[in-house]
């Protein structure tokens, strides 16, 4: 326990100040994101992630976005275990034929209102897996997609910023 406390103090606060370079210049994206989420979703935005056949790179970066360095949760974005608790579905991968039903069922299990976010290049149009015999995607042919976050894989910072820009536009 002593060691944990020691390391807690020695490490200090590691969380990165995420700034967004928009026309107004550099501003704190996180604070704004939090305000927007409060306004639009009550307290927090709850996401449920579904891998439909990604290589695992996007999952790794989504997990990284939750590490103490980026700490997505402090802006009010939570990852939940059940689709029944989710506001939005985060989908990665090009939709393997085997995953199509599971994807549809997960979406159906979510309460309204709900929307879908795709993450990574292969979720957009199949990416490197385009044209395969076993791809049923892209996701947008199966579910209505509100936001796409590009990248292979997108970096945690890009994921956070994309969410912010999306919520900002949604407000307008």
């Amino acid at each position: 326990m002593i060691r944990i406390l020691k390391n807690r103090v020695l490490k200090g606060i590691v969380t990165k100040h995420i700034a967004l370079d928009l026309s107004k210049g550099v501003e704190s994206a996180g604070k704004e994101l939090k305000v927007l989420i409060r306004k639009q979703f009550g307290r927090s935005l709850n996401l449920r992630e579904v891998d439909t056949g990604s290589c695992g790179g996007c999952e790794s970066e989504i997990i990284s976005a939750n590490n103490p360095f980026y700490d997505l949760q402090r802006f009010g974005v939570n990852f939940v275990a059940s689709p029944r608790h989710a506001d939005a579905l985060l989908v990665t991968g090009p939709v393997s034929t085997n995953m199509r039903l599971a994807l549809e069922k997960t979406y159906a299990a979510m309460p309204e209102p709900k929307f879908v976010i795709t993450v990574g290049d292969c979720a957009l149009d199949g990416g490197v897996f385009k044209g395969s015999y076993y791809i049923k995607g892209p996701v947008k042919d199966i579910l209505p997609v509100a936001l796409h976050i590009p990248g292979c894989p997108p970096e945690p910072q890009e994921i956070i910023q994309a969410l912010l820009v999306f919520l900002r536009n949604k407000e307008k």
Binding site: M1, N7, E59, S60, F79, T97, C122, G127, V128
Partner: protein, 524 residues
Amino acid sequence: MDGAKIISFIKSYLPEFQPFAVTQAYVDELYIKVSLESFKEVALALHRILPSPVMMLFASDERAVSGVFEVRAVFISPKERQWVVLVVDIPQENPHFNSLAKDIYSAALFEREIWEMFGIKPEGHPDLRRLNLHDEVWPQGNFPLRKDFTQVSGEALGEYRFNRVEGEGVFEIPVGPVHAGIIGPGHFRFSVAGEPIVNLELRLGFTHRGVEKLFEGRSCLEALPLAECVSGDAVFAHSLAFSLAAEKISGITAGKKLRLLRAILLELERLYNHVNDISGIALDVGFSFPSAYAALIKESILQLNAKLTGSRYLKKVNTLGGLGVDIDESQKAVLLNSLKKIRKDFLELKKMLEASVSFMDRVDTCGRLMFKTARDLGVVGFAARASGIPTDLRKYFPGVYAEVNFKMMIEEGGDALARLNLRFTEFMESCRLIEELAGKLASGPLSSSGTHAHLCALGYAESARGPVLYWLKTNPSGIIERCKIVDPSAHNWQALAYAVLGNIIPDFPLCNKSFNLSYSGNDL
């Protein structure tokens, strides 16, 4: 380095052994062509005398050229530093061969894959249920890896039959394919009697994307980005294994500098994977501070990767016969400085975990994979080393690792604690390797081109999970005709089903994380 020795071994074991042809295609690859009738006995002989699990077993469709299918079984001979490839022609009429599955466990899944992908029947196989092409969505009789496959036809859908455990008080718990965490999809069917798990059946294949077929028809350079998307946390190992195969075929020899740089990047990939797994193990027992601490170490390694190469996951770094980046003196200083900090943090992490009695008690004896079970299953790589099996491609085919005195790490326990401890020791060894490899960097040519005589080759690299293998065949103009990928996860998933027996369900996430196998690498 002697293929002739292996042939004489087989002859002393099988006096009537009469191969059609023996080819030493490369210094480390021995091809033995045998008749369909003798395939099984030669394979069993190799399995016993080398001794080696079936490292790869796959088919290719050569009907357009020679009117036959070909099946290849790949074994490894650590002593002779050889890959031994057994080749057999399968007639296209009623294609079949004698199954090895009842004698060699590690052949079983490969044979099921050959059956579903090519329609070549392993005669005598006890279980021909399909793996990646799920019965509920893919009609019977469609064999996508055959060359004449164009699109799926027919409507004969079916249902997958799970093995059932019956008896009083036995109940089933189905889990997946969508899990609670941010993780790949897979279905686990537990049979539980009281609390302990009495059977676990894994149904994977949910991330099947038809990767191997996508390789076909591309040039090696065009296919490289595909290899990097097979398993997202073993990007460099896959890229390296693929390009080593492609380089062999095109006659490119990597220079010393390239081999050093690649070894450094391979070790960096191992570092972030090992610390990520430690983070996961801590998280799955609810020990959140060390988990977050380990996640920070992973983040700093990813950021170091980005600083050195421009990519956090080392994507688009490796090319054929070269590397998109160089590590110059200033970058070397960055690397060594960061490594010092990373190592210091890592030692703190280790102390924190070891100081917690309840944590250590939880991992101790959890998910034990006994040496004998691991050996019989043909478990490879990291998981094998944690069960006391000495196996590491860096030891067998050392290359530049010989110059830095690589030490293979082993743990005897086979439980989650052994896998945790092995991650500790391998992490420290990898740090040392990177420092010493970086010390040997000197300017020189990255690669030289030479002659090429063969159109197929095997490329391999030891990823954090174990050996990544690529068998590649091109036509004379360099277009890929067949690419077979074997990720270590394909060998090791079954080990999980044995390791969890007798454990309770709440310990399953911990067992699973202590192996941390790849869904996408397995499903392809």
